[in-house]
């Protein structure tokens, strides 16, 4: 465990070497959030209710989604794609540590750093734009929300690794094409820009069984208290099933991938 803690710290330091890069990344994240926020702000300046959402509840959803986006999607492990494609994976295969575990440690160091930036940003944005920040007072719901958020981050990690492992079979463009396709779906299906239950019931029912729903939408709904205990349990069960499936497939992809790995570029 100690070596992964060291990796966590090393990654933290190496990210902070490029501080300007971190700053611009966070500026982009804030702009993305404000883009969505201003759009919905404009809608609610003319309408008091959209689907089941009042102005306050939808804008609060966006703030929680911004937090979850920072926690769940902040990752360095997208570089796995290029490491496989360029043969840099060799460097890790020789080291006495788990490849996925060290990436998990690196991802979490980036997540913690991003969350710290988020706290500063959300404070500033709240002061400037009077964001409807909604603090939970119910500790039980806090715990359930945190559990769902951490599970969502894990779910995304294994999902993302599966996409990266495509590089074993198709290393062109550093394995980026499938990731690009994934990101296009993720933008829409995770619920970052809007809650997924504003769609018609048939679509909302389909979203319920997709893993992407559990990255942002499901934890955000828990935070906002929009789910009853039965729905929360059902959501956790679906998450657990997807996590098991992704871990299993990631293991398989890793084993099969290593068998055909050609270390191209080395």
């Amino acid at each position: 465990m100690r070596k992964y803690w060291q990796i966590f710290k090393i990654n933290w330091d190496s990210v902070l070497v490029y501080r300007f890069n971190v700053l611009l990344w966070r500026v982009r994240m804030m702009l993305s959030f404000l883009t969505i926020y201003f759009f919905w702000g404009a809608v609610f300046s003319e309408y008091s209710q959209i689907a089941d959402y009042s102005s306050a509840s939808l804008l609060a959803y966006l703030v929680v989604a911004f937090f979850l986006q920072t926690l769940v999607f902040a990752n360095d492990s997208f570089r796995i794609t290029a490491e496989i494609a360029t043969g840099d994976l060799n460097n890790y295969l020789l080291k006495p540590m788990g490849y996925l575990s060290q990436w998990l440690a690196r991802d979490w160091s980036l997540k913690v750093l991003n969350l710290m930036c988020f706290m500063v940003e959300i404070t500033a944005l709240t002061l400037i734009f009077k964001l409807p920040v909604f603090f939970l007072t119910d500790w039980c719901r806090w715990l359930v929300f945190l559990a769902a958020s951490v599970l969502a981050a894990l779910l995304y990690f294994f999902f993302s690794f599966l996409v990266s492992s495509f590089s074993f079979w198709y290393p062109e463009h550093n394995g980026w094409p499938l990731r690009f396709l994934m990101l296009m779906f993720l933008d829409f299906l995770s619920g970052t820009a809007f809650p997924l239950d504003i769609f018609p019931q048939s679509l909302a029912a389909l979203f319920k069984i997709l893993p992407t729903t559990y990255f942002i939408f499901f934890p955000a709904q828990i935070y906002l208290g929009r789910l009853n205990p039965g729905e929360i349990v059902q959501g956790f069960l679906i998450m657990a099933v997807w996590l098991t499936v992704f871990i299993f497939l990631a293991k398989k992809a890793w084993q099969k991938g290593l068998q055909i790995y050609g270390a191209y570029g080395r």
Binding site: F38, V43, Y170, E172, P177, L181, D187
Partner: protein, 262 residues
């Protein structure tokens, strides 16, 4: 610029575009995945708009069909910018490796080489689909409105060029290109809807600081016949001033080029 020079630039663009096309054919699966991603991005946003149909009747005075036309016109200019100026995404590597020296040594305008070096063929199918859909969705348009749209469209392309030149200049000064171009792309997403829907301060920012409102909203308003001549003239004057300032900034940046790593 004489005809002979223009021919050289034309030949350069055709050669670079042909080479980009060859590389796309060499990696067919990658091209299919990229192409699918681009079309899916537009389609999914379209689904989002349709989902709003029974919830939003009017937004800033525009009905949903009009908002869809705004979104399609946004895509036309966004895709045109990407088709012609995709080279900016490859440019950072040239700066940080010092390879930009070779660009400067060639007897061609370095800006031209940077911006048009990678024609993005994969955006063309999405552009064709968008234009077809736009023609289907458009209400009756008069000749004057069409002419106004074409003029404001040319102005929009000049502004898009200026923004890309600005990013290139920032790249020379700071070696930072990727985030800068993405900040523009992120902000331009606010113009998927007419910028009139936003509050005054945001609208000012989107029109006159990062002029995505002038790039995407103004041509659409010209097509709808709701663009006043004052706004049209103001946009043209702003564009000329903006472009000249950005060119000056580019020349300033070139003087500061450090040729790092070369």
């Amino acid at each position: 610029m004489d005809v002979k020079r223009l021919k050289i630039y034309w030949y350069y663009w055709v050669r670079m575009s042909a080479m980009t096309f060859q590389s796309l054919i060499a990696t067919r699966l990658a091209s299919v995945l990229f192409l699918s991603g681009k079309i899916i991005r537009i389609s999914l946003f379209f689904i989002f708009l349709l989902a709003l149909k029974d919830k939003i009747q009017l937004l800033a005075g525009y009905n949903l069909d009009q908002l869809i036309v705004f979104f399609l016109i946004y895509n036309v200019f966004d895709l045109l910018g990407q088709i012609f100026f995709r080279g900016i995404y490859w440019y950072r590597n040239e700066i940080i490796t010092g390879n930009f020296d070779f660009t400067l040594l060639k007897p061609l305008n370095p800006l031209f080489q940077i911006l048009v070096s990678h024609t993005d063929w994969l955006d063309i199918p999405a552009l064709i689909l968008t234009v077809i859909f736009l023609i289907i969705k458009l209400p009756a348009v008069s000749g004057v409105e069409l002419l106004a749209f074409i003029i404001m469209g040319i102005i929009a392309m000049i502004l898009i060029t200026a923004v890309h030149i600005f990013v290139a200049a920032i790249g020379v000064l700071t070696t930072e290109v990727d985030h800068a171009i993405w900040i523009y792309r992120d902000l331009s997403q606010m113009a998927r809807f007419p910028v009139d829907i936003y509050i005054e301060s945001v609208r000012f920012f989107l029109n006159f600081i990062v002029p995505v409102g002038l790039i995407f909203t103004v041509p659409a308003k010209a097509l709808f016949g709701v663009l006043s001549w004052q706004w049209a003239m103001g946009t043209i004057a702003f564009t000329l001033g903006f472009y000249l300032i950005i060119i000056k900034f580019w020349h300033y940046a070139l003087k500061k080029y450090s040729s790092a790593s070369s």
